[in-house]
């Protein structure tokens, strides 16, 4: 038993050292500021490994925490994960409950990690759709980590890009109406400023973008999707117009450091092209 433990420790140290050396080499070139991930393949993984359905999500959560650590070590500043879509509420209630329980556990783990490594945690999405416990816990965790800025983890929960767009249009309408009703009226006497007044009453692109759930982070440099799928599934299509889309054939729980290395190397290969765009 001691021998096995010793070997495991030695292997773990070696792999950590190799990882650090590889990351040093990668850091010679440009490192993406923001990586977004669509965690596809948890259920397929569980089926393939003959596990219970919920165990696939457990393995997926562990894979996400590992990826967060790798991105932190590499020097990536932001990571965003698509944890739960609004459409996912159509799944079996037992699976939805399992994911919600997992989310609660992840919040606890993230709270502990965040304190030691100055990690800011955001939750993006229509949090009103969550159960009462998570609806209270999520803002608490965001509040506790609000002042940290070394590394930012955003978990998209109850999120769809189309819902985000509609939500931001709603907020923009409310803002403009408030301005028009309570502030804009005091400028009505000044006829010379009619044009400027019209502009102030119009919703602009910048208003929509600042009211989005995902306004808390810059646009992703890379969007990774696992499970050998090549679609966005209503995730960040607004924000990824200049992003590298990386589709990996592996299922999400099997994603590892070498997949991250491959994706970052692709990003560096195409960096000049993205800078021009």
């Amino acid at each position: 038993m001691d021998k096995e433990y010793f070997l495991t420790k030695v292997l773990s140290c070696w792999s950590s050292l190799i990882r650090k050396v590889v990351f040093c080499v990668l850091r010679v070139g440009p490192i993406p500021t923001h990586i977004a991930v669509i965690m596809d393949g948890n259920r397929r993984y569980a089926k393939r490994k003959l596990l219970e359905e919920g165990d696939g999500h457990d393995a997926g959560a562990m894979a996400l925490l590992n990826l967060i650590i790798y991105c932190y070590e590499l020097g990536v500043k932001y990571i965003t994960a698509y944890a739960f879509s609004i459409d996912n509420f159509r799944r079996k209630p037992s699976e939805v409950q399992k994911i919600m329980d997992l989310l609660k556990e992840c919040m606890t783990v993230l709270a502990k990690i965040a304190k030691h490594h100055l990690i800011k945690v955001n939750f993006a999405g229509n949090l009103e759709l969550l159960n009462a416990e998570l609806r209270d816990e999520a803002p608490k965790l965001m509040g506790v980590t609000a002042e940290y800025s070394k590394f930012v983890v955003t978990i998209c929960v109850c999120y769809c890009c189309t819902d985000d767009i509609v939500h931001s249009v709603e907020e923009s309408c409310r803002e403009k109406h408030y301005y028009h009703s309570y502030i804009g009226d005091s400028h009505d006497d000044d006829k010379d400023d009619d044009d400027k007044d019209d502009e102030r009453h119009m919703i602009k692109l910048v208003d929509i973008e600042k009211n989005m759930y995902m306004a808390v982070t810059p646009d992703p440099d890379i969007l990774i999707r696992t499970g050998d799928e090549h679609r966005l599934s209503n995730f960040l299509q607004w924000q990824t117009c200049h992003s590298l889309l990386a589709s990996l054939s592996t299922d999400w729980p099997e994603i590892g450091v070498w997949h991250l290395v491959k994706v970052v190397l692709d990003f560096q290969q195409n960096y000049d092209y993205f800078v021009r765009k």
Binding site: C173, L232, W238
Partner: protein, 231 residues
């Protein structure tokens, strides 16, 4: 004194070691990227060979494409490619021959400052494209910055979308993307202001996704607005 000399020597040695280390890392980085470039080049050659095999009809699996499953094809064309109108026509002729029914071509031209309209290169050459493409119907969108002025083609009003004999073409550019959403937002804002539902609970939903789709149609995004929900 000895200590300061020693510390200077130590500092110089560590700087040299650091320089050597950085040089080694830089060399390794370039070596890795050279290997990747060679692999990508080999893959590109393999892709070109596969293209020739497909064109020659030797690969059986490309003979029947089940094209009916493809409801809408959107193609992003780089600005440089958008100037090559003959190539665009050739592409569209291929798509027509294959049986694709609804095509959207997008090219992004650099935005002008202020509120001026940004028309894509493809939109400017659309007449030439259509003249050389028999049987295609233009599903044109004209959009202006002033949210009260929108023009719609007869094609939409006559429900040409139901006509399976012709390929419908849509030309979009940067102004039909995020800026179109801003225009649609102003359409919804006008409705919101007129409706008088201002004292609603801040958390209640005012608009639905289907209302957003309708507003996008109002500003001229017809085919694409139906597909937004599919993304």
């Amino acid at each position: 004194m000895d200590f300061s000399n020693e510390s200077r020597v130590l500092h110089r040695c560590s700087a040299q070691v650091l320089d050597i280390g950085n040089l080694l890392l830089l060399s390794l980085w370039h070596l890795v990227h050279s290997i990747i470039s060679i692999c990508n080049f080999t893959l590109d050659i393999a892709n070109v060979l596969e293209s020739y095999l497909i064109s020659s009809g030797l690969l059986g699996r490309y003979k029947s494409l089940h094209i009916a499953k493809l409801r809408y094809l959107a193609i992003v064309i780089e600005s440089e490619g958008a100037y090559q109108t003959s190539k665009i026509i050739e592409l569209l002729q291929w798509l027509e021959a294959v049986g694709v029914k609804h095509v959207c071509l997008y090219d992004k031209e650099g935005r002008s400052s202020g509120f001026s309209l940004s028309l894509g290169i493809l939109k400017k050459s659309k007449d030439f494209v259509l003249e050389n493409l028999d049987g295609a119907i233009l599903f044109q969108v004209l959009s202006y910055w002033q949210p009260s002025i929108y023009a719609m083609q007869d094609a939409h009003e006559n429900n040409v979308l139901l006509d399976q004999q012709h390929m419908t073409l849509e030309f979009v550019s940067f102004s039909d993307g995020k800026e179109a959403v801003a225009k649609a937002a102003n359409v919804l804002f006008m409705k919101y202001s007129k409706s008088g539902v201002t004292d609603q609970n801040q958390k209640e939903k005012i608009f639905t996704e289907s209302q957003m789709s309708e507003a996008l149609k109002t500003v001229g995004l017809f085919l694409l607005s139906d597909q937004v929900g599919e993304l």
